[in-house]
């Protein structure tokens, strides 16, 4: 929202050479098969995280520390995917947790899962930082691709295996440019202006194209589940 440069400024600011052909070659996390029995563990984890986050919202510092211990590896992973650079990811993570502390009172257990809320806050803060540094767009994703594969995976992530495969196979089913743009927007803060500049198409055309791709992506994911 307010506080970072407008979209048009970003594309003007970014590296003067936006290389549209540089596709994001980042690796997705490696996935493994899992045993049963994780569901209960995950439900318990979620309940205790919800409790800790609600207590953080009341100003409980020890609950905040518990939130940090339970989620810092996951959220550092989020920052690394967006920044690639470890130092920048550390700063972004610190920024994210300060935001989490300040905004924990706005978390509503009934509306979102705690991890979804935490990842969203972290991702949005990281993208804001990326934009304020003039690094948003397509190119930054190449930096992100250099992160090594994280391992080992936490059990919580193993839970999401089905969803991961679904997302990637549905994204792969989209037009290549649209798929790349959706990834670039989510992980690199790319905007409609960036893609319009790259493809040399009017903004309106680009918007309709991506909006159609989003509907298609959702249909693919919902249809399969």
């Amino acid at each position: 929202m307010v506080g970072h440069p407008s979209r048009l400024e970003i594309s003007a600011h970014g590296d003067s050479t936006i290389n549209c052909n540089k596709l994001w070659l980042g690796s997705y996390p490696k996935l493994m098969a899992t045993d049963s029995g994780i569901v209960d563990l995950e439900a318990a984890r979620r309940a205790s995280l919800t409790e800790a986050l609600l207590r953080t919202g009341k100003g409980d510092r020890s609950a905040f520390e518990a939130v940090y211990r339970a989620t810092s590896a996951k959220l550092f992973g989020v920052c690394l995917r967006i920044f690639g650079d470890r130092n920048e990811a550390e700063e972004a993570l610190q920024d994210a947790y300060i935001t989490i502390w300040n905004r924990a009172a706005t978390f509503e257990a009934g509306r979102a899962s705690p991890i979804s809320w935490l990842v969203t806050v972290t991702r949005n803060r990281a993208i804001d930082r990326l934009r304020s540094k003039g690094k948003a767009g397509f190119t930054s994703l190449d930096e992100a691709s250099e992160i090594e594969d994280p391992s080992p995976l936490a059990e919580a992530q193993l839970m999401a295996i089905g969803d991961d495969k679904l997302l990637y196979s549905c994204i792969d089913g989209l037009d290549r440019r649209d798929a790349h743009f959706i990834k670039s927007a989510f992980l690199g803060g790319a905007t409609y202006a960036d893609i319009a500049a790259c493809d040399g198409e009017p903004l309106g055309t680009v918007k309709s194209r991506i909006r159609r791709a989003l509907v298609k992506l959702r249909t693919c994911m919902e249809g399969a589940s």
């Binding site: 009341k58 550092f76 995917r81 300040n102 924990a104 997302l167 509907v215």
Partner: protein
């Protein structure tokens, strides 16, 4: 269950991807606040896209220490739950100040079940040119100060909030968010300062806030507290 329209599916996806402009964002957030089906589709997009961000990596141990130093000391509060839920409803989303205030006035009469407290204390913070502005609303019962940035740009620095009571000495209330509502729980020993006539101010400070509790940046916005 009614399926969302393609229009709403695309809008929710654009919102989660961060593709909307400021006005579009405010519109989407107003929809989230008032339309449960749309809010559900937004959450569904977050869940759909989150696998792209998966991958655990342990951060260095020292990071927690610097995070802990960055947050203001706060006493644990036992807040009335109804009151808390009320504020959560209001601040669960970074709606523009206008939208939030609109909802405040529309919904407030129906929500209060506890004895109606005195009117809240509010402050409008701005600079001389009115290019920077925030609004703040303080609930004396819960000790909760809600700060809403309307137009706030501190560049690479962080906005630190100060209360300046009658004695003229600024006391830090911590770092607030640049673009979203921040709920600040005022420590017990600071509550006496949050009264009509006190001044709230913002200075840009580095991550972690001003060292030794003394502002280093210029005051970029300030305003007096008054009873609504």
């Amino acid at each position: 269950m009614i399926q969302p329209t393609e229009e709403d599916i695309a809008l929710a996806g654009e919102y989660v991807l961060g593709l909307l402009d400021v006005a579009g964002n405010a519109m989407a957030e107003a929809r989230i606040a008032t339309d449960a089906a749309f809010a559900k589709e937004v959450e569904a997009w977050r869940v759909r896209l989150q696998p792209m961000l998966a991958g655990d990596v342990d951060p260095p141990d020292r990071l927690w220490d610097s995070i802990e130093k960055s947050i203001p000391p706060v006493a644990i509060q036992d807040l009335g739950l109804g009151k808390l839920a009320f504020w959560r409803t209001l601040t669960g989303m970074s709606v523009s100040a206008a939208v939030i205030l609109g909802i405040l006035f529309l919904q407030k009469p129906g929500i209060e079940s506890a004895p109606t407290p005195a009117k809240p204390l509010i402050a409008a913070l701005s600079n001389e040119n009115r290019t920077t502005s925030l609004t703040a609303s303080y609930d004396e019962i819960s000790g909760r100060l809600i700060v809403l940035p309307v137009s706030l740009d501190t560049g690479k620095l962080y906005p630190e909030l100060w209360i300046i009571p009658a004695d003229g000495k600024a006391r830090s209330l911590g770092i607030v968010d640049k673009s979203s509502p921040t709920a600040v729980i005022i420590p017990n020993d600071m509550r006496e300062f949050l009264v009509s006539g006190g001044t709230l101010a913002i200075t840009p400070e580095r991550a972690g806030g001003a060292p030794d509790g003394k502002a280093t940046g210029p005051v970029i916005a300030s305003g007096k507290i008054a009873r609504l």
